[in-house]
Symmetry: C2
Subunit: 366 residues, 2 copies
C-alpha cells in the first residue's frame, strides 16, 4: 500500500527530509518561507540542517522504529540524496507520501538502470556495457575501445568509484581498483563542455525548467556554474526537452537535475545525457539569487502539491563552490559588491568538503 | 562593566535573539546563510522563530537565571522588538555584547526621550509636550491646538496607546482612555504621505541606507510598502541624512528604521521625523527580494562585525502585508508570476495579526 499525496497540503504542514547536509538545510530554509515546518532525519549528530529545522531525529536509515515515528509526524517525505536505501524508501512510502517516488530512486541509484532508462527514451547517452566480471570488462573494452571509463553501478559521486581505461591501463588492476563491484563501462565522449538542466515537475504534471547552466569541474567536483550556458538555442531546447521526457517517464514530483555533455559546435552541436540526480542539485544553487524561484522553493512547492514558481533567470550569473579552505575567504566575499554568500554551518573545512558557495548576479541594471 | 563586541566574530558564531516573532524568524533564516547559529529567547512556547533556530529558550525576560544561561552560550545578543525591559538589556549587556546597545533602547522606548533626542539633533519633528497629568494635557492642547494626538510614552505600536484630540474631544475622557499613563501630546502634522528610511550602521561606523520607501497604513497597521517612494531627490537625501545622523548620535550598530511624514510638494516638500525603530522593520521587508542585501542579512552582518552589504534596490517593488485572513490567499499568491510569498508559521490567523507578506519586484527585465 502506498500513500497518495494529498493535494491539499497547506502552510503549517510538516515536511520530512531524509539527510541533513547542505541541500536539506537549504530546503528547510525555503520551506520556512512558505510556512512549512521541517523534520530532518539523519544519522550524523552534527548535521548542518538540524540548525534550521523545527525537529530532527538522529538515527540510522535502517532504524525502523525511528523511521515509523518520523513518518507518523510528517505530512510528506522527501530526501536530499539519491542513495536512500530501497528498504527505507519502501518503509516510508507505506506510511507517508514520498516524493520523489521509489521509481525515481530505483532508476537513478544504479548507473546501468539509469543509462538503460535514458537510452530507452530514445535520448542520446554514451555507449555502455554492464560489467560483472573481469571477462565482461575485457569484452566491453574490446567493444567500446579506449579511452573509456569504468564506473561502479552504485554509490558513485564527485568522481568516486570510477577509473579511466587508458591505452596502457591493466584491466585486472582497474577492476580491482573499483572493488570488483558491479560496474558499467562507458565509451569515451569527446565533449567540449558540461551543462545541466535543473527542472521541476509538479504533482499536477506541470513542468518548469531553469535555464540550462554550464558547469566547470575541478578534481571531479563542481567548481563553477554559469548562466547562460555556452549553448545554441537548438541544443538548449533539446536539453530541456530531454529533462521533460525524463521527468514524465519517471512520474517525477520535485526538482531534479540532468547532467549532460555537449559535443560539436554550431549546427553539429548536440547534447548527451550523462547522469540524473533525483533531488535539488549543486548546479542549481545559482537559482537562490539568480532565478525568480529558487530550486529549493520550487522543490518544496512541488512535493507539497503547491503550484510551481516561475523559473526565469535574472541576468548573467555565476555560482562558485567554496571547497575546503576556500570558505576562509568569507570576509572578502562579504565585502564584494553583488556577491551573495551561503555557508553551510560545517565546523571543519576539510579538503574537498563543500563548505558553502557564492552567487554573483549581473543584471541589466548592474 | 559592559562587554565590547569582538571584531573577530566568524561564521560558526552563535547569535542570541530576544523575541521569537516573525522578525526574529527572518533574522535566523538570514543568519543561517552566513553560517551563524541562532539561539532565540522568548516567553511564548509557540514562537515562530523557534522552528528555524538551532536552540531556543522559553522563559520570561525577567528570568535572570535563564538570561544568564542564554548569554553564556551566545557570542552576541540582538533583539527583534524595542520594548526589551531596561533591566534585561543591562543584565545581558554585562555578560555579552548587545547590539543595538542600551542607549538605542532607552531613547526609542520612550516617545518623549525619542522626540527630544531627534529635536536635539536639529531634525524636524512634530511639536510636542510632555503630559503627566490632566492639567498638563489641558496646557498642551492650549499650546498645540486641535487636532492633536495624545500618545502614551511607552509600549505603543500599530496605533495602540494613542487617541486623537479632535475639536469635540473631552480631555478628561481622552486621558482616561490612554490609562493615565505618562504621555506626550503631538501637534497635528498635515502630511501627504508616510515614508521610511531603513538603514544600517556597522560596528566600524559604516552606514548604508536602503532606498526611501513609501508606506500605506490601514487601520494603523502597515498594509503596503512601495519603492520608489513618491519623493523628490532633495527630500530623499534629507531623509537619508536624518537617518545617518540618528545612527551616529546613538552609536548604533545594526539595522534601524526611521518613519517620517512628508509635507508639501515640489520645492516645498519636506520630511518630519515621526518614529525610530531600533530593529529590522516591517517597512524593510521588501529588501528580501528587492535589494542586493536584505535588511535581515544586513542586521546580522552589522551585529557580527561583518562588512555591510550593498543596499541597492532591484527595480520597482511592492510589499504587501498579509494581515489575518489575507494569508488564506497563499495559493493564489503562489500562482502569481513575480510574487514572493513569506509566511511566518503562525497557526492562528486572528484579525489584525501579521501572518506573512508578499514581495513583488518589477525589474527592467520584467
Amino acid at each position: 500500500m502506498s500513500v497518495p499525496v494529498p493535494t491539499g497540503l497547506a502552510p503549517g504542514a510538516v515536511l520530512g527530509i531524509l539527510g541533513g547536509g547542505q541541500l536539506a538545510r537549504m530546503l528547510a530554509l525555503a520551506a520556512a518561507d512558505l510556512g512549512i515546518r521541517c523534520h530532518v532525519f539523519a544519522p550524523e549528530p552534527d548535521s548542518p540542517a538540524f540548525d534550521v529545522a523545527a525537529r530532527h531525529t538522529v538515527a540510522e536509515y535502517e532504524d525502523e522504529a525511528a523511521l515509523a515515528r518520523f513518518a507518523d509526524g510528517v505530512d510528506v517525505v522527501t530526501y536530499e540524496f539519491e542513495n536512500v536505501p530501497a528498504a527505507t524508501a519502501a518503509f516510508l512510502g507505506q506510511r507517508a507520501p514520498l516524493h520523489p517516488g521509489a521509481r525515481a530512486l530505483a532508476v537513478t541509484q544504479d548507473r546501468l538502470s539509469e543509462k538503460s532508462f535514458v537510452d530507452g527514451l530514445g535520448l542520446a547517452v554514451a555507449p555502455f556495457r554492464a560489467v560483472d566480471s573481469l571477462a565482461d570488462l575485457e569484452a566491453a573494452v574490446a567493444a567500446l575501445g579506449r579511452p573509456s571509463i569504468l564506473k561502479t553501478r552504485r554509490f558513485g559521486y564527485d568522481g568516486k568509484g570510477q577509473i579511466k581505461i587508458a591505452p596502457g591501463t591493466d584491466l585486472a588492476d582497474a577492476y580491482e581498483a573499483i572493488g570488483r563491484f558491479p560496474a558499467i563501462l562507458e565509451g569515451y565522449v569527446p565533449f567540449e563542455r558540461e551543462v545541466s538542466v535543473v527542472a521541476a515537475r509538479g504533482l499536477d504534471g506541470a513542468f518548469a525548467a531553469f535555464d540550462v547552466c554550464e558547469n566547470e569541474h575541478r578534481d571531479h567536483i563542481l567548481a563553477f556554474t554559469r548562466i547562460p550556458a555556452n549553448l545554441g538555442r537548438g541544443a538548449a531546447a533539446t536539453a530541456i526537452d530531454a529533462a521533460r521526457r525524463i521527468g514524465e517517464a519517471l512520474g517525477y514530483v520535485g526538482v531534479f537535475a540532468v547532467e549532460m555533455f555537449v559535443l560539436g559546435d554550431g549546427a553539429a552541436e548536440r547534447v548527451v545525457v550523462n547522469e540524473i540526480a533525483p533531488r535539488v542539485h549543486n548546479s542549481g544553487h545559482w537559482t537562490s539569487e539568480g532565478a525568480e524561484t529558487s530550486q529549493f522553493h520550487q522543490h518544496v512547492r512541488a512535493v507539497c502539491g503547491f503550484p510551481l514558481g516561475s523559473p526565469g533567470s535574472r541576468g548573467r550569473i555565476e555560482m562558485e563552490n567554496l571547497i575546503g579552505e576556500a570558505a576562509l575567504r568569507w570576509r572578502e566575499i562579504l565585502g564584494e559588491p553583488g556577491a551573495h554568500l551561503h555557508l553551510y554551518g560545517k565546523r571543519d573545512a576539510r579538503p574537498g568538503r563543500k563548505m558553502g558557495h557564492v552567487t554573483r548576479v549581473w543584471t541589466d541594471r548592474s
